[in-house]
């Protein structure tokens, strides 16, 4: 009993230290965002003036940097990207994991390999394809781009589906369920952790990408996303004046993602095999 108490104490200490290290840069970011003195950099660590001005300016001074608008754009894109790519990833990996059909293996290999070409090489081509559809400079095109590659991330979820005992599916099929029903009613509810992972990663993409947006949006300032918008704040001409606002913007971006994760956490708790047919 005593041994485990000591062990737990060590574990807590270890967790505290590591999570401190992990959070430290974020704390620094938050401090910078609350810094009252201007400039991109200070030769001391703790700000001398604390203020919320940077946040207030971010949402009120929208003439140069229309942060509120970009924030809503990004939220819109992120929500739809998240829904579409989660569906795509889950469907693709379910098909490869559970269904058996001709061309399954070759198709799996082809899709696996396709994901390995460095993305930025194809940006200009993607731009022109979207242009052919008349979709450039729109938020829809961003959603398409972010979820278009989702299928190529199938194998992580597939690995997870593979661990769910097939006997459960088979039992359901004997009971007269179609494969469609098996997917929605049996497999999905058992795959919460991987769904959380997929939702989270696909939700994040639009908040952090600034390369694709800039190729697709070009001069359409109104349809920028926050990442590209923030990137404009740290150009040579702007960084001194806007760095602290830039940090504030980064903190604001982190909020929806953190909230989403905290909501998703409760689906994270129970394992799969625990309640499965194996036991």
């Amino acid at each position: 009993m005593k041994k485990s108490t000591i062990l737990n104490a060590i574990t807590y200490l270890f967790l505290s230290i590591t999570s401190f290290i992990w959070v430290l840069p974020i704390v620094w970011l938050i401090m910078q965002s609350l810094r009252g003195e201007p400039g991109a950099f200070t030769s001391y660590v703790i700000p001398k003036i604390w203020t919320f001005d940077n946040y207030i300016k971010l949402f009120t001074e929208t003439k140069l940097f229309n942060f509120p608008r970009w924030f809503l754009n990004t939220l819109f894109v992120a929500v739809f990207t998240c829904i579409i790519s989660t569906i795509i990833v889950l469907l693709t990996s379910y098909a490869f994991s559970r269904l058996r059909f001709k061309m399954r293996k070759p198709l799996m290999n082809v899709i696996l390999v396709l994901g390995m070409f460095p993305g930025f090489m194809s940006m200009v081509a993607i731009y022109h394809i979207l242009k052919a559809f008349g979709l450039t400079q729109s938020l829809i095109s961003l959603i398409l781009v972010y979820s278009g590659g989702a299928a190529m991330g199938y194998y992580i979820a597939k690995g997870f589906f593979d661990t769910i005992p097939r006997s459960i599916d088979e039992a359901a099929i004997i009971d007269g369920a179609t494969k469609n029903q098996v997917f929605w009613k049996i497999t999905l509810p058992m795959s919460k952790p991987i769904i959380v992972y997929t939702i989270l990663t696909s939700f994040i993409a639009p908040w952090v990408d600034f390369i694709f947006v800039s190729v697709i949006m070009k001069d359409n300032y109104q349809n920028y996303t926050v990442a590209l918008g923030l990137y404009q704040m740290i150009t040579r001409e702007n960084i001194t004046a806007y760095f602290t606002q830039f940090c504030a913007g980064a903190v604001v971006i982190a909020i929806p993602i953190t909230i989403l994760f905290i909501i998703m956490q409760k689906y994270y708790v129970t394992g799969v095999t625990a309640g499965g047919a194996k036991g």
Binding site: N8, T11, Y12, F14, L15, I21, W22, V23, P25, L29, V45, I88, S97, F101, N109, I111, L112, V113, L114, M116, F117, P118, F120, S122, V124, A125, I129, A132, L144, S147, G148, G149, G153, Y155, I156, K158, G159, F160, T163, P165, R166, T178, N180, F183, P193, V196, L200, V208, L230, C247, A250, I253, A254, T258, F261, I262, Q265, Y268, V272, T273
Partner: protein, 466 residues
């Protein structure tokens, strides 16, 4: 099954191919008039046999295709061999006092749309073959007095027997549009001379065969030595970045998920926070923190731990260590996210049994946890490895590839092949060369991962749990 010889497989495909050609012609020869017509009019074999919806869809596609080809498709195809013939020109306009510019061809767009047209033709051709098969099949069923499937039946099958077709449809269409076409386009570009002297809209570029590959392999010694050195570093980086993150991440997840540890949600959230901050922000902050005059050095100097700054990002060796360590900071939260779900799936009895055998935690980790995780997450590891080989963000935003060195051609000590490639496109606009290197990386990476993936236990025994 594992040792099925490659040549055997090829042979298998060849016979398959031969047979389908045979059956294609046989179907025509043995076909009745309806079947024969359907070899020329798509969907006729269905329409004439009362599968109206399906049949008309086929017909519509044929009409669309023909109209499109007449209008533009043939033009794009005819332009593929040359990639454009009309150069931008100019004429003096005395009244306006300007050289009025007349538009020329845009080689890049001609190439892109040429590729699209070919892909479209392939798809239409496949459809064409399928509909001839349907016509033959229908004829056979009628002769044998069996019923022909109705549209309703086809739809029902799509949610059960052919469920895979339904659910793979959108993923595949999106992949074709946003990955396959660009990929073929990029591959073809490696065989052109699309460089700074051949930029649209003013210039045309054209095919140059394998010229670019010749240049990469051996023309310039500095060039190939840079390529080799960066390749070695890229692989070292990918190995460290992948496996350190993996092992440490799993350990972290195990600790958090350990029985008796409270505030699990809190710990997880603490780590996930780092994911929530966009990488370009956190990495930029990191590079400021780690700068020679950066915050970390200031702090360390204030506390008298060091008296001269540590060149975290400006010394060739230390910089390499730094980017790997920072990448641990970036990557572990993802590993925790992905593995904690899977950890919970490890059957509890395995641990209990091993405990009875007297195994300690370390042994449990080595003999139970790790093999199980490897089994399930090999695909994840491969993605990570490949992702790290192509890890543009971390290197570009953190060190920018620096410190730069004159021993490398237009590259720095921490540059990966991808960031080098990016620099080459930005500095020299040499897209042809960039595509060439891109293809070389792509071939190396994809061969490697195909082999590992298909040999991995996750694939070999994917039905084990059935």
């Amino acid at each position: 099954m594992e040792d099925k010889k490659f040549s055997l497989k090829i042979k298998e495909y060849l016979t398959l191919f031969k047979n389908s050609i045979k059956s294609f012609f046989e179907g025509f020869i043995k076909g009745d008039i309806i079947t024969k017509i359907s070899y020329f009019v798509m969907g006729f074999g269905s329409i004439a046999r009362k599968q109206y919806i399906k049949g008309f869809l086929f017909l519509l596609i044929q009409i669309f295709y023909i109209v499109y080809m007449m209008k533009n498709g043939l033009y794009y195809l005819s332009m593929l061999p040359t990639l454009g013939v009309n150069t931008q020109g100019e004429v003096w306009d005395e009244a306006a006092q300007i050289f009025r510019i007349s538009k020329g061809d845009n080689s890049m767009l001609l190439l892109l749309f040429g590729v699209s047209v070919i892909l479209l033709s392939v798809v239409v051709f496949v459809l064409y073959i399928i509909q001839t098969k349907i016509a033959v099949e229908n004829q056979k069923r009628i002769e044998e007095n069996k019923t022909i499937s109705k549209f309703k039946d086809d739809i029902r099958d799509l949610f059960d027997k052919n469920f895979h077709a339904t659910i793979l449809f959108f993923p595949i269409v999106l992949t074709i549009l946003f990955t396959v076409i660009p990929l073929i386009f990029m591959i073809l570009m490696a065989f052109t001379n699309f460089d700074k002297n051949h930029q649209p809209p003013g210039n045309l570029f054209t095919w140059v065969g394998v010229n670019n590959f010749k240049n990469v392999f051996g023309k310039n010694p500095l060039w190939s030595s840079t390529f080799l050195r960066l390749l070695v570093w890229t692989i070292i980086w990918a190995i460290f970045a992948t496996f350190l993150n993996y092992i440490l991440g799993i350990l972290m997840a195990i600790i958090i998920e350990k029985k008796g540890i409270k505030f699990k949600k809190f710990w997880r959230t603490a780590f996930v926070l780092t994911i929530a901050v966009p990488q370009f922000v956190s990495l930029m902050l990191m590079s400021k923190l780690l700068h020679d005059q950066g915050t970390l050095n200031i702090l360390l100097q204030q506390f008298k731990i060091i008296d001269k700054f540590i060149p975290f990002l400006s010394d060739p060796f230390i910089a390499k260590v730094t980017v790997i360590v920072v990448n641990i900071w970036v990557g572990i939260p993802y590993t925790i996210l992905i593995t904690s779900g899977i950890l919970m799936n490890i059957p509890e009895d395995l641990y209990e049994a091993s405990k009875l055998d007297g195994a300690n935690s370390f042994q449990q980790f080595i003999y139970i946890t790790l093999p199980y995780m490897l089994h399930v997450t090999t695909p994840y590891l491969i993605t990570q490895f490949v992702g790290n080989i192509n890890n543009f963000n971390v290197i570009f935003l953190l060190s920018g590839g620096g410190p730069l060195s004159l021993n490398l051609y237009q590259a720095g000590e921490t540059d990966l092949l991808v960031t080098w490639l990016y620099k080459l496109t930005v500095n020299e606009q040499n897209y042809a060369l960039a595509s060439t290197i891109g293809i070389i990386i792509f071939v190396i990476v994809s061969t490697f991962s195909l082999i590992v993936y298909n040999k991995s236990s996750a694939v070999q025994s994917e039905d084990e749990f059935s």
